[in-house]
Amino acid sequence: MKKSLFLGTLTAAGLAAGMSAAATLDDVKARGTLNCGVTTGLVGFAAPNANGRWEGFDVAVCRAVAAAVLGDENAIEFVPTTGKTRFTALASGEIDMLARNTTWTFSRDVDLGFEFAGINYYDGQGFMVPKELGVTSAKELNGATVCIQTGTTTELNLADWFRKNNMEYEPVPIETNAEAQQQYLARACDVYTTDSSGLAATRATFEDPSAHVILPEIISKEPLGPLVRHGDNQWGDIVRWTLNALIAAEEFGITSANVEELASEPTDSPEINRMLGTEGNLGEMLGLDKDWAVRAIAAGGNYGEIFARHIGESTPVGLARGLNAQWTEGGLLYAPPFR
């Protein structure tokens, strides 16, 4: 932590010496790689696979941005960050963007000086308990020992929720997900709480996932999304619209399989044409070329494909789309128009 702060200060000093803020796009292009901050490892969201290649739902956003900007989805330097180090890493310029299931909150957006580029997962904090405990509602958790992954908004939500419901609990703060698992499985805590997507991802790695239940109560709103530094609006726009392109692609039925074909000649739909660059000059406005969205979608597919591949119901994580369905299907995903 101290080291990264020191390095961060050095980096910041170096950056400031060379140029004023902004121009992340030029930096990334000159460097040839995108520095993307991810978690230290959460199955389904960001974790290296057996071959050491980073994969996951958050990683896919990084890959789409790298594909859009650099034309190569592998031109990424992944920087694993903990709950503690992530903001310093981003603020100091060590990373260009942070895609690390980070909750969009007022103070992070306004006070810490970051720019949330959108929401790629609508989450909420939940509780996981062993089935044999016989607990069916979080309201029955009075006096329980609760494992929390420290350095997140979960601590505050938990304190607020138990206070609101006039219940007692004993917090056991844990630094990483792996340690929390160890304590939870040894029953050193009765309950494990974090974002319910994280619970599902953690449960997927257990020997017997069916012996654990995720309680129905969701005690907070946790809109997770990628973020960038304040002050470089062009870079913020690129990340924001890359994410929007992935979401819109699902809505329009553009997949990794048909994107090349749809982009080869103008289609009947003007919005698809504008997005894929066969009409208008949206790419130019972003400071990229006209094929930026084609590459972003080709990298990992549209939002639905990414979801299904990494955290969907057919994966061990097994999350339903729920709130994360398209607005046309009763969810909250709603990309602004491409025009």
Partner: protein
């Protein structure tokens, strides 16, 4: 009249600052100091400037805002609507608690092992060598995590105590519950308690505790008087009266009387809901951190003690024996007082190390100052620079205080040379 002229006084010329050896050293030092201060100023200015560019203006206002999070081990009252400052203070107390417990245990263990390692018994000596080499050659973080893992994995969870035929039962006449969350021991309760005293409205102190401590200290003071009288008699007559039963009575009786007067009894832990309730609860995290830190540090202390004892020449032992002193007297009156002046200075460093190593607490989820101020508060407010700066200042203050106290002690035990 002796004609005698003073050497003509050379007037000062600026070039002398470089070419005159009288001034050169001073010049170089001043230039170096200016250079160093300039560098320091540049670094501070640069950091402040860059932080301002990033939109992060240093401010300590967040310390007064509500912390919003809960802390499991609080030595004084705390609830999640208290300020970040109070949360930091709770953390500081937890740091001090584990540091004091650790230093005391490390000293006792270390002295014992250091002396035993010099034992003429081959087996005891070798065993102690193994102890020292094992514990001091593995990083302390691993010992902490390892101890925690043992505590978590080997002891039963509280739910194992439930039911008519539980898998686990309480130890020591059904009064102590050892679980994988921590150890619950009976707590002292008073039926005729005197209540609490509020200190500056900041925290409460039990008046019972103050009364008991007062009785204890009065007893110790009286016992000391008895010993001084015994010394006087010994110096005058050469015969030392037996005093230990007086001393014991003087220390124990007042405390016993106070305890009976207050209606002392034990409150036993009992399983209620998810956890045991009642009793004193020592969390796993505290036990793991305390054990690991004291065992690790005791290995170093043992070596320091051994070195100190070996530094006293063997002739001292022989001389003392020749005067007719028994071996334990030789150790306590002749060897140890001389060894202490060698032992104390490096011992200070070990205390400082132990205190600073306690910042590894977060590895086991112990909420010390690193976990509260530089952990959760840092995260919730995003004020990395401010919290880390404050944390460093606090550790500096703790370390300097330990250093000051130990140096005062060192001055008392050091050899007085005339």
């Amino acid at each position: 009249m002796a004609s005698h002229t003073d050497p003509s006084k050379e007037s000062f010329r600026p070039s002398m600052l470089i070419y005159d050896t009288r001034y050169r050293g001073m010049t170089i030092q001043i230039v170096a100091l200016i250079g160093f201060l300039t560098l320091l100023g540049w670094i501070i200015n640069n950091t402040a400037q860059n932080l301002a560019d990033l939109g992060m203006r240093p401010s300590f206002g967040f310390l007064m805002e509500p912390a919003g999070y809960d802390i499991n081990q609080t030595l004084i009252e705390y609830q999640n609507q208290d300020s970040h400052l109070r949360a930091a203070f709770i953390g500081l107390l937890n740091t001090l608690l584990v540091a004091v417990m650790g230093c005391a245990t490390a000293t006792i263990l270390g002295v014992l092992i250091g002396i035993l390692r010099l034992s003429k018994n081959w087996l005891v000596g070798r065993l102690m060598t193994v102890y020292v080499e094992t514990f001091r050659n593995v990083p302390v973080l691993l010992w902490i995590v390892f101890t925690m893992a043992i505590l978590i994995e080997t002891f039963p969870p509280p739910s194992a105590f439930r039911g008519d035929d539980p898998e686990a039962t309480m130890a020591v006449f059904n009064s102590v519950a050892i679980t994988n969350r921590g150890v619950y021991v009976p707590e002292p309760l008073f039926t005729r308690g005197l209540g609490d005293l509020s200190v500056f409205g900041l925290f409460q102190i039990s008046i019972d505790l103050i009364v008991i401590l007062a009785a204890l200290f009065a007893g110790i003071w009286a016992a000391r008087k008895v010993r001084q009288r015994a010394d006087r008699i010994q110096n005058a007559t050469g015969v030392r009266p037996t005093t230990w039963h007086f001393a014991l009575g003087l220390i124990v009786l007042p405390v016993l009387i106070v305890l009976v007067a207050l209606g002392f009894h034990f409150g036993y832990p009992a399983l209620q809901g998810f956890n045991f309730q009642g009793g004193i609860y020592m969390r796993n995290s505290l036990i793991a951190l305390w054990l690991a830190l004291s065992i690790y540090t005791s290995a170093f202390v043992a070596e320091i003690v051994r070195a100190g004892i070996l530094a006293v020449s063997h002739g001292q032992t022989e001389a003392a024996s020749a005067l007719g002193l028994r071996p334990n007297r030789v150790m306590s009156l002749v060897i140890l007082p001389q060894a202490l002046r060698v032992i104390v200075p490096p011992l200070i460093s070990q205390y400082l190390n132990l205190t600073k190593n306690s910042s590894l607490a977060i590895a086991v989820g112990y909420m010390d100052i690193t976990g509260t101020l530089m952990g959760i508060t840092l995260n919730q407010t995003g004020r990395a620079l401010e919290t880390l700066l404050l944390g460093m200042l606090i550790y500096l203050a703790i370390s300097l205080s330990i250093s000051a106290v130990m140096n005062w002690y060192n001055n008392r035990v050091k050899l007085v040379e005339r």
